[in-house]
Symmetry: C2
Subunit: 403 residues, 2 copies
């Protein structure tokens, strides 16, 4: 049976690494208690992590009964992964260690309207430069995680959309980048990657929804620490739920899509038809224009504030739908579009959710900003490489049945 | 760790029962292959099911290699469960055997605006009558599953809403009915129960969304055969997602909720303000009125058709949201409101989804009616009793880690 909704059977080793990342020095007994796994399973998992060099013993602590317990600690530099996030408008790259620490961070060249033949060599060159700038030997880099837009076929490493140019449709981005860099490449939905990244920064609970905003809007859901995937591994098409039944038909076939009334692409396009265009000197780049509009709104420009607030209210309305359907207690905002405006979106959405969520009398819903909104997805993509490595049949023990 | 989004670790015994229900005579080797579990795990699970009397051997078949394999078969009458579904407007009860066969089915007294002090004794009397009418000895009934509206606290067996009267708020319905009948009682969200019921009728795939419509509208999601629950075990509040941002504020705090423009309660209330009230002789019962309106629409009454079509279109719009967020390939319609109108809703929703779902170029989405829309939730509730029985620590082996 193929797991569908979420990668339900988290390998024990991944679970243990997550715990070691959150706490500092932990004993096997504490790990067994925290996970609900048997001590035998835990001992086995820890043995494998020690063999990989990912975990080492750092002395002993006395238990309540006085028996000494050996404490375990992560070896952060035992493993490094590259994480990239790109879409048409922005891209960033990171090199991340086992503990989620960022060794290098870079902006990537903008894709714009260019095809993969130009973009892939640039990404490969950026990876080379990042590895060169880090203190990490190339052979110690375990692979590249690439967070990008959907729809995509994760297993095949292929994009399933003709965006931004027809040449990207069914382009084998993972294989092409692997060939150009000599490193294994895994692709991931950007909103889902942001969820994994937020989780790996330790700030988020195990269950939360993600609202991801770059030029457009996407959604993600983390259940018990695992991404919810759905039938085609494409997370939540939050940007294409309707927030206005009488709105215009979207390219996706639906009407009044959130993307068309709330995204930076939509807001900057609306602004260009107003005096704001000249007043703020709005250029072609929607994220740069969105930043200028957001800053003007913060400085008291009424026209700019109206546009931003319309986006905020539409996004908040979609978040109510998201929360009413998934019944989560937490929504994390990530993506570079929240760099300037995160607080404004967070506060307004919190206010709307406090008033409008069906289950608010049973449990509250917190809106939070991811730790570093512009890099969360790239870090999550890097962590996907680690997860894949640990889930490969030769490493660690599965906590669930075999397949 | 508490499982959140779905009961991810399905006990092996439940998995085996599901497979035996779908196929007829199966060998242990085939079961191991179909589940991906090891032969040792499968042998262990089958031993337990044989010890319970749920499964027996029915001869041998030759494998491809010529080795004889003993075939296993369900013993349908080894176990019976009561399933009830009730809300303010309608209630039905069933006695179901291990194979999902319905031994008895009954309408339950309508709750209306009455409190639990009147309703619980009536439910208990109905259960007594149903058991008496069946060929099943009372001691062979394993318990009662009760599907009803939310919010509810499943673990506590308590309703968390003052609907239909304040006396129901935090009323311990499970404990009260258990005391009145002497049988264990489990409660379940009605839309989720319908999902479990649809699954147990074997018609549905392992992954699908449920749209449940009685007086109001609810939603459910089955992932890999398990209910998605969310933070508070209340499935999907589909009736309270907005389909009209400029619509009136709903009692739930949100605006333009689906329930207020598409449910039988809403449609019958709208109809009562038109000449239809007199023409069709609409009474106070919203589901009866909804049936009359639906039949008139089918017979060509334009006014009635307009009301039904508005409901259909709003529900279809909400289904696009549901599918775009959960990325399912199948939506099952269940609930008594679809008894008359199921085909109309299914066909129209299919048409809208075919045009508007984001992922339609990657995979199709099928809209289906549950086998017996009025009894699906009650059958699912009965199956919850069986799942609880098999998941109790003394029975069967978990296919996942211990807790």
């Amino acid at each position: 049976m193929r797991a569908f909704g979420s990668d339900t059977r988290l390998p024990t080793v991944t679970l243990v690494l997550d715990l070691l990342r959150e706490r500092r020095a932990v004993s096997r007994v504490e790990l067994a208690e925290a996970t609900g796994l048997t001590r035998a399973t835990m001992t086995n998992a820890v043995r494998k992590l020690i063999a990989l060099g990912f975990v080492h013993e750092v002395g002993t602590a006395r238990s309540r009964r006085g028996t000494p317990r050996r404490l375990l600690e992560l070896q952060p530099d035992a493993c490094h992964m590259v994480g990239l996030q790109f879409d048409r408008f922005r891209g960033v790259g990171v090199i991340v260690d086992l503990a989620g620490g960022i060794a290098v961070r870079r902006e990537l060249p903008v894709v714009g309207e260019r095809g993969p033949d130009e973009v892939v060599p640039e990404l490969a060159a950026a990876v080379d430069e990042m590895i060169g700038a880090s203190a990490v030997a190339r052979e110690d880099i375990r692979g590249i995680g690439l967070a990008t837009y959907g729809p995509q076929d994760r297993d095949a490493g292929v994009l399933l959309t003709p965006q931004p140019t027809p040449a990207w449709q069914e382009f084998p981005i993972a294989a092409a980048l692997a060939e150009a860099t000599g490193l294994p490449v895994a692709i991931e939905n950007d909103a889902t990657a942001a969820g994994i990244g937020a989780k790996h920064w330790g700030a988020s609970p195990s269950n939360f929804a993600v609202v991801y905003m770059s030029g457009g809007i996407g959604g993600g859901l983390i259940i018990d620490g695992h991404p919810y995937r759905g039938a085609a591994s494409n997370g939540l098409e939050l940007g294409h739920i309707s927030v206005d039944p009488s709105g215009p038909v979207c390219g996706c076939g639906n009407r009044g899509c959130l993307d068309n009334v709330a995204s930076p692409v939509a807001i900057s396009s609306l602004a260009r038809r107003t005096p704001l265009a000249a007043r703020l000197g709005l250029g072609a780049d929607p994220l740069e224009a969105f930043s200028l509009i957001a800053r003007a709104a913060a400085d008291g420009d009424t026209e700019a504030a109206e546009l931003i607030d319309a986006s905020v209210q539409n996004l908040a309305a979609a978040m109510v739908t998201l929360v009413n359907l998934f019944d989560v207690g937490s929504v994390v905002l990530a993506g570079n579009a929240f760099t300037e405006t995160g607080d404004r979106y967070r506060d307004a959405a919190q206010d709307v959710l406090d008033r409008s969520v069906f289950m608010r009398h049973v449990h509250g819903v917190n809106v939070e900003l991811a730790g570093d909104v512009a890099h969360t997805a790239a870090v999550g993509a890097a962590m996907v490489v680690l997860r894949n490595l640990l889930e490969s049949p030769n490493v660690g023990g599965r906590s669930g049945p075999g397949r």
